[in-house]
């Protein structure tokens, strides 16, 4: 049983890690703590519903449709909501992402109705057993795709010009502006990337369960994942996601599904009290 829980925890955790990575990208570049990350994930799941149920697109085009839609949404959010609030204290910025999630949730329910929808993407659904541990192909695909995406984004940040500009902006907005970087464009890119990563997570979660606005709750698990890993650290976000996935499976399996939240948020509280910079983040020094 233990091995089973850990394996499925790691698979789910890979999805959380992906969503958390999107969150960390947005946070690092724009310093916006994005409470709408959970609903952006749900948007991804519903875009997949549209692509398959209404438009009947083949798999590659459907995926491109979801990613394009998510990226566009991310850019619109940055231009319409986040940019006007540049330089404001944290509360208005957090609140506007909360307002965004209220609005997106209402729009989704108006467009798609309140009953959960199934995501019809032709992803492998069978399963196989290795050494007594049952592994579903969908979990495996989700994990592999997540890891590939994480790898691609790591390469993107390391080797592309946009990635370099994004890292520079994350380091210091002011210095980036002074060196002539178009920070607004970089921020748009960060929101596009963050929202795309959430959408990929959404496709898989929508396929594993059903597409519904209740998935937002699961998407919000990206927040503890990111903080447990360390807000400033991108590998930390991924590891945090894995950790949250494993904790979730263990607590649901051994204690009760309801206890999941406690076992995830109580460590978050402890981390915040004793090691606020996270397990893998760098300690932020306060200076007067």
């Amino acid at each position: 049983m233990l091995a089973q829980f850990i394996v499925s925890g790691l698979a789910l955790g890979s999805i959380y890690g992906l969503v958390a990575l999107g969150f960390a990208v947005i946070y690092k570049a724009t310093e916006v703590f994005n409470f709408a990350q959970g609903i952006l994930m749900v948007v991804g799941a519903y875009l997949a519903v549209t692509a398959t149920a209404s438009l009947d697109l083949p798999l590659p085009i459907a995926v491109a449709f979801v990613l394009g839609g998510a990226a566009l949404l991310g850019i619109i959010i940055q231009l319409v909501l986040i940019r006007p609030l540049a330089g404001q204290p944290i509360l208005p910025v957090i609140m506007i992402t909360i307002a965004l999630s209220i609005v997106l949730k209402a729009l989704i329910e108006i467009i798609y109705g309140v009953t959960p929808r199934s995501v019809e993407l032709p992803l492998p659904t069978g399963g196989f057993v290795i050494g007594g541990v049952r592994l579903s192909q969908l979990h495996l695909t989700a994990a592999v795709v997540s890891w590939i995406c994480m790898g691609l984004f790591a390469l993107f940040f390391r080797f592309t010009r946009t990635g370099l500009l994004m890292r520079a902006t994350a380091d210091s907005q002011e210095a980036a502006v002074l060196s002539g970087i178009d920070v607004n464009k970089v921020n748009c890119a960060a929101w596009a990337v963050g929202s795309m990563l959430a959408a990929i997570g959404g496709i898989f979660l929508g396929k594993l369960q059903l597409a519904s606005v209740d998935l937002e709750h699961i998407g919000l698990l990206a927040l503890p994942a990111v903080v447990i890993g360390g807000l400033q650290s991108i590998p930390g976000a991924i590891l945090g996601g894995l950790l949250v996935g494993v904790i979730e499976q263990l607590s649901s399996g051994y204690i009760s599904p309801k206890s999941r939240d406690v076992f995830i948020y109580a460590p978050l509280l402890l981390i915040l009290m004793f090691r606020p910079w996270g397990l893998f983040g760098q300690r932020e020094l306060g200076r007067v």
């Binding site: 609030l85 509360l91 506007i96 909360i98 307002a99 209220i102 919000l220 406690v262 606020p276």
Partner: protein, 372 residues
Amino acid sequence: MTVAQHPVIARGAVLAAGQRSIPWLRIALSILALAVLLYLPFVLQSRVLFGTRLTNMQLLNIGLAQVNLTLIAVVGALSLNFLTGCAGLVSIGHAAFFALGAMGASFAGSQLGLPFLVTLIIAALVGALAGVLAGLPSLRVRGLYFVLSTLAVHFIAAYLFSEFQYAFHDVAGVTMPDAQIGGFELSNGIRWYFFLLPIAFLAYVLFRNTLRFREGRALLAMRDNELAAAAAGIDVRILRLKAFAFSSAIAGIVGALQAYYLTTVSAEFYSLNLAIQFIAMIIIGGMGSLSGSVLGAVVWLLLPALIGGLATELKGSDLALARIIVEHKPQVVNLVFGSLVAILLIYAPDGLAGGWRRIKAWLANRPTGGAS
């Protein structure tokens, strides 16, 4: 140019004269407001105003139950605004204290058999204790991290509530005992109204006076500049915990009142959404403004009622927009509510109360035609 002709001095004189006459105006307005508030529940109950029958639309679709829930929400919004707007501690876990307060009151009322008013005090104590515990991370972390710790508190409290619900009650939710003061039972809407109205008023006065005294001023100083406040001899850490305990004690009472009024509350009621609605209220009303909290709660009352009324009017219409409003009423309410918050954040960060202040300031300072 004589003194009286001088534009600035002349306006000053007018202002001074105006100030002398204000108390009468204010007293008259207060009496009028009081009369309206005292008459309101009877109008809502009988749907009759001075002998004339009113349609639902004329009453904005509002019933007494909504007004009572709004009175409770006013107190909740005040306590959140005190914490977030005045003390600068952003909390998205306020529903946690509602849940814990309701839990405390239910346990004291049903299991221990204590009277109604005592259970309210217990709810306040439970809230205060939880507030101190939830405030502990504030000793270490600031801003963003603190917001997250309130999120964690929310989920932990929601779990505790659901455990409590299943231990002592059933799936339907926690059923509260009857609300009785002495032999007097709060059995109908009008009785509740006259119980809740003074409570809301008292809460308002309590918060206003707290802000005027030493601790309140220290709190505002801490919000505006923590280092300066600490340098001025304020122990900011203790102050933060005190603010948290005070605000969550009131939130505990709010939770208990909510539960008593609704008679049954289940764990699903205390969702993150509930906490978010209260944040939306204080943003719409005005961060850090006590009258803004009241305004925000009133908007929260009026919006669903207005959209509900609109939906009834539009029923049968063929327009696509009309059909959306009729079929997706709760979603449209959320859509308008969320958009309102976003628009206010961008264009009027100090909310409706701030907008009103600016209009008043503009009226007072507008150039008068014949002055010069």
